[in-house]
């Protein structure tokens, strides 16, 4: 729960700089990686073939960068609801993530300028390391 926004329908308009978004924790599985490979049409073997992934120096199959981006996209669209429109969304992949470990999506408000609200978003692995860094800009409707 976001205790700083008693009126949930106005949570973007009432946001303050520094305020954190409600966390979204994902529990990715190998099944999900195959589902995502099919849905996106990205059949690069490092996402479903353990032997292939290890043969090129990975610990095993890893999450698609764009799946992690989709998780962070959900963090943002869950928060903005119908109140604001997503204008820009940028992610930089800084580390690998593996299935069967939680992937925590977090974010905070970094700037408010009239109708424009800027966010910092990131994904953390189980150890708390930020493996994905990102920013987003949303505009109040």
């Amino acid at each position: 729960m976001n205790s700083e926004s008693p009126n949930l329908t106005r949570r973007v308009a009432n946001a303050k700089v520094g305020q954190e978004l409600p966390e979204l924790v994902k529990q990715p599985t190998t099944r999900q990686l195959v589902q995502y490979a099919g849905a996106q049409g990205d059949f690069y073997e490092i996402h479903y073939d353990q032997d292939y992934a290890r043969s090129i120096g990975l610990p095993g199959v890893i999450l698609h960068g764009l799946l992690k981006a989709a998780f962070l996209g959900q963090l943002i669209t869950d928060w903005i609801g119908d109140e604001a429109t997503l204008k820009t969304f940028e992610v930089s992949y800084r580390g690998i993530d593996v299935p069967a470990e939680p992937y925590r999506c977090r974010g905070k408000v970094t700037r408010i300028d009239g109708k424009n609200v800027e966010l910092e978003v990131w994904g953390e692995d189980e150890s708390g390391k930020r493996t994905t860094l990102g920013t987003a800009a949303v505009e109040l409707r």
Binding site: Q35, A39, I56, A70, Y93
Partner: protein, 139 residues
């Protein structure tokens, strides 16, 4: 088989040159499979496509196959989306992409090849709906 240096030169000749346009319809079933795969139950996605769905409509990057002589694997360095118009179920989206830059540089475990590409997506009315800039890395 071309060398890595030849592959870089070949990709350089394509900087700024759009690849063939690809057109696809935003199908309700495809969006449903996509949101099931990402685990996002928001009912909004029964009418509209979620923020990263466009990458499922057309290949994210165009004509990068030639870079596969370089290194042993691909990494996704990052993605930047700019949104202009919502993408709705039933829209017909045309994607056009080109290479913005290509360069290689030393990394901590050998050389890395960076390919920056940009894809523009427009709808059936010719409106630009989104622009995606990505960094594909060969290591």
């Amino acid at each position: 088989m071309i060398t890595s240096a030849e592959a870089i030169d070949l990709i350089k000749t394509r900087i700024g040159v759009d690849g063939p346009a690809m057109t696809a319809t935003v199908e309700a079933g495809h969006v449903r499979r996509f949101v099931e795969a990402i685990g996002d139950p928001n009912p909004r996605w029964t009418k509209e496509a979620p923020p990263t769905f466009l990458v499922a409509l057309a290949p994210v990057s165009f004509h990068l196959d030639d870079a596969e002589v370089y290194g042993t694997g691909w990494l996704n360095g990052g993605n930047r989306f700019e949104y202009f118009t919502p993408v709705l179920i039933g829209d017909q989206i045309t994607a056009k992409g080109h290479v913005v830059d290509v360069y290689d540089k030393p990394g901590s475990s050998g050389n890395l090849l960076f390919i920056i590409f940009e894809t523009e997506y427009s709808n059936q009315r010719g409106e630009l709906v989104a622009r995606l800039r990505g960094t594909a890395i060969r290591r």
